[in-house]
């Protein structure tokens, strides 16, 4: 299962695995990523952080290969020039101001004009006002933003983020999502992990779902949904007379269950395309006016739910 | 259906039970019991009981090393008694009750440096002090329970070699039962002298350790204190004594180990060694020991009275 990129993949894993004694944290994972944003989804303990650390070069794979920009990150520190990492753990540099911290990163990346680059990075994450305070005095959301600023000050090709929206309020989250979107549009490859489905849904559609160390699905989550043929689609309908519509729909073989709720109708069908064809006819036959027809489980949550419990 | 559940709501047909906070209506023991429990728990912790094996290593090894010379004397008691009879060995060269601590006191320092931080630093580091202070036991009880547990542990360490020497003396003499009668009065002063040593050093160690939540730094600070307050006054005393100054005679009073071994001399009626001035009698060292104990206990209690929790 791969997300096929146009040219050579930026991130590529082939049969990558990682185990600790008898515990397998990452089990035979293969995928490749190109420019754009991809969300790494999985329940807690699924192996998301392990996978990110393998991509970041802080864990060598027990088997298989991990390549970022063609190089093996665990063996070649020069690849870090083009990778930015935003880990979950806090740094120990709480005594540095926001600006000093970002500049520390810039200087370690060997940037010629570290000061200017740091200022730009700080502005991109919106920390200008607090840049001269020590990071130790920041709120959690501000610390996250400082981490992100430090990670993108050297304009990396690849950005790896581990639960980046932790501790951010909704406004900061939106701002961060916009920033990531900009970077993706500019051709960067961004991979971020999350177990909060709304975040992933909002940013982009490309996902990797990892469950118990295995890759359960990859690609556009709507496409994945469509592939889940062994599970009926749920559609919510509101109309002028739900009961009459329900009776008409039940007579059609494409529909196999209809549930009558207080103010709406929940229809289950195995064939979404067939249903799309019949719903208009059915409502005309029943003499009912439709006010709303929406898929009830097109959400990422239902996809995720299905994949985790499969 | 059981009928002794607390009921939140009920009707003839059924009830909803209240599973909220469980009340305890039984007897409550006072703060003495709480302090006693902490004391026992603390004492066990110092010896590493209730903790993994690695926590038992330091205290037992160091206590064992402290007791080693006495155990060696005990093991070779028959050989030694023969050698004394032939005149080869001078009994005054052997470890005895009076000179024991002075000779090998370093291991007591090591024991304290290793274990005192264990007693008080953890609670500060993980900020669990409020859990203690909001119970029946107060701040004073907490501090004293911890202090007494360390002092007890030290007393045990100090007494083991004394007991070994006692047994050794009995074995070395011809008539065991008469020997017990003879030796006991000679051995008795070990109890008060070791009590003083235990109380004094434990109070210093705990008072200083209580100022750092991190065990490693407390250990380093403690070590620095013992090394420096031991040697620096002695250096100054050495120089000043030669120069004929009188006030330096009082300096050795503040040294922990040397001072306490001089105090031990008072309990055994032994004379002060020649390299110390005779103007400061052994009794002064005992007094210094008491004062130091009170002082550092006060510092410890003050620390816990003021600590934010």
């Amino acid at each position: 299962m791969t997300i096929a990129p146009a040219q050579a993949p930026v991130i590529e894993l082939v049969n990558a695995a990682r185990w600790y004694g008898n515990v397998v944290a990452v089990n035979d994972i293969t995928f490749s990523l190109g420019p754009g944003i991809t969300g790494l989804l999985g329940p807690n303990g699924a192996g998301k952080t392990t996978l990110l650390h393998m991509l970041a070069g802080f864990l060598a794979p027990s088997a298989g290969t991990v390549r970022v920009l063609g190089l093996s990150p665990s063996r070649d520190p020069s690849v870090y020039r083009r990778i930015g990492l935003v880990p979950e753990r806090e740094s120990v540099y709480g005594f540095l101001t926001g600006f000093e911290y970002v500049r520390f990163n810039a200087r370690l990346q060997g940037m010629r004009d570290a000061d200017a680059a740091s200022r730009v990075a700080i502005e991109r994450v919106g920390l200008q006002d607090a840049a001269d305070r020590a990071i130790g005095t920041y709120s959690k959301g501000m610390r996250q933003r400082a981490k992100v600023a430090g990670a993108l000050v050297h304009d990396p090709q690849v950005l790896l983020l581990d639960e980046p929206f932790n501790g951010m309020d909704p406004r900061q989250r939106l701002a961060m999502m916009d920033l990531l979107g900009e970077m993706a549009a500019a051709g960067r490859t961004i991979l971020f992990s999350s177990h909060i489905l709304e975040e992933v849904e909002r940013i982009g559609t490309e996902i990797l779902v990892i469950v118990a160390g295995r890759l359960a699905a990859s690609g556009d989550f709507r496409a994945i949904r469509a592939l889940m043929t062994d599970r009926p689609h749920m559609i919510t309908i509101r109309s002028s007379d739900d009961r009459k519509l329900a009776v008409t729909l039940m007579s059609d073989p494409a529909v196999f269950a209809v549930t009558l709720h207080d103010s709406e109708l929940a229809v289950q069908t195995a064939h979404l395309s067939a249903f799309r064809r019949i719903i208009a006819t059915a409502s005309r036959t029943a003499g009912v006016r439709l006010t709303e027809v929406s898929p009830a489980d097109e959400s990422l949550e239902s996809v995720f739910d299905y994949l985790v419990h499969r | 259906m059981s009928t002794d559940n607390r009921v939140a709501a009920s009707s003839p047909a059924g009830s909803i039970y209240d599973l909220g906070y469980r009340h305890y209506e039984g007897k409550r023991r006072g703060h003495w019991f709480a302090a006693w429990s902490l004391y026992v728990d603390s004492l066990r912790g110092i010896w590493g009981f209730g903790r993994p094996m690695s926590a038992k290593a330091a205290p037992f090894i160091l206590a064992g090393l402290y007791a080693l010379p006495a155990v060696v004397v005990l093991a070779f008691s028959s050989t030694i008694s023969k050698s004394i009879a032939t005149g080869e060995t001078n009994p005054l060269d052997l470890p005895n009750y009076a000179n024991y601590f002075g000779g090998i006191g370093t291991f007591i320092v090591l024991f304290l440096v290793a274990q005192a931080p264990e007693v008080v630093c953890r609670d500060q580091r993980y900020q669990v002090l409020p859990l203690y202070f909001t119970r029946a036991m107060g701040r004073f009880d907490y501090a004293m329970a911890r202090l007494l547990s360390l002092a007890t542990a030290l007393f045990l360490v100090l007494m083991v070699p004394m007991i070994a020497l006692f047994i050794g003396d009995i074995l070395m003499s011809a008539d065991a039962f008469k020997a017990i009668g003879n030796e006991l009065p000679k051995a008795l002063p070990t109890i008060p002298s070791n009590l003083l040593i235990a109380a004094s050093t434990a109070s210093i160690a705990l008072a200083l350790s209580s100022y750092s939540p991190r065990r490693a730094y407390a250990a380093v600070g403690l070590l620095a204190y013992f090394l420096l307050v031991e040697f620096v006054p002695l250096v100054i005393y050495g120089i000043g004594h030669e120069a004929g100054a009188k006030w330096v005679d009082y300096l050795p009073l503040i040294t922990p180990i040397t001072g306490l071994s001089r105090a031990t001399d008072w309990f055994f009626g032994a004379p002060i060694p020649s390299d110390f001035s005779s103007s400061v009698g052994a009794g002064a060292y005992v007094l210094a020991g008491f004062v130091s104990t009170l002082l550092f206990t006060g510092i410890l209690v003050w620390r816990y009275r003021r600590i934010a929790a």
Binding site: A60, V92, Q109 | A219, L228, F231
Partner: protein, 255 residues
Amino acid sequence: MIHGSPRSPILALPEIFRVTVRQLLGRRRTLLLLLLAALPLLLALVFRLFDRIDVQRYSNSVFDGVLIAIVLPLTAVLFGTGAFGAELDEGTALYLLAKPLPRWAVVLAKAMAAAALTLLLTVGSILAGALVEVIPAGEAGVRATEAYVGATVVGALCYVAVFVAVSMFTRRALVIGIGYTLIWEGLLSSLLPGIANLSIRQYALGAGDWFVQLGREPARLPPETSFLLSVVVVVVALVLATWRLMRFELPGGTD
């Protein structure tokens, strides 16, 4: 984004050095170390108080007994183990490692920061005491000061390198450092002279002997051997530290 062509990453080392120095300073620790370092000066003043200018006595009791035996190892242990501190255990070292820098360079920069602070405190301490007590004695005093400064420099570099390396392998580096100083170098060395071959303190003192023999017991190592062994110790320690840093791994944890 502003880019500019990157310079050689080796030039990033001063930044690591600076930040590590800031990491190490501050807090009560520095205050206590300053007090420790002031001791030789205080004792020198006491000596002068009694109208003594006695190079031999002062060297033996203060330089040997207080500085080389206590102040130097404690300072080096605190700064050496603090250089990396808990970063490797807690995993926060990745902020330092996700950079295009060779690992040996990171180790070197951190060790140099710790060494610089240690040297500042200890050599400063010697000079302060020497100015008051030893140098006024004339030529002999100057030679003695040179000897002890040399010994301290060698000792500081060895101790810091070793403790930086040890701190990367175990959380208990500080306690191990104390145990080494007290038990290995203190107690055992006086009981078993053979241990001099494996004691940093002896290397330091032996190196100091290069300047002037200060009339100590013959159990010391000759200067050439001391220098050689010191170099070996520093190199081995730094190599081990680099090796360990290259093996740094950050497990996923509970995700």
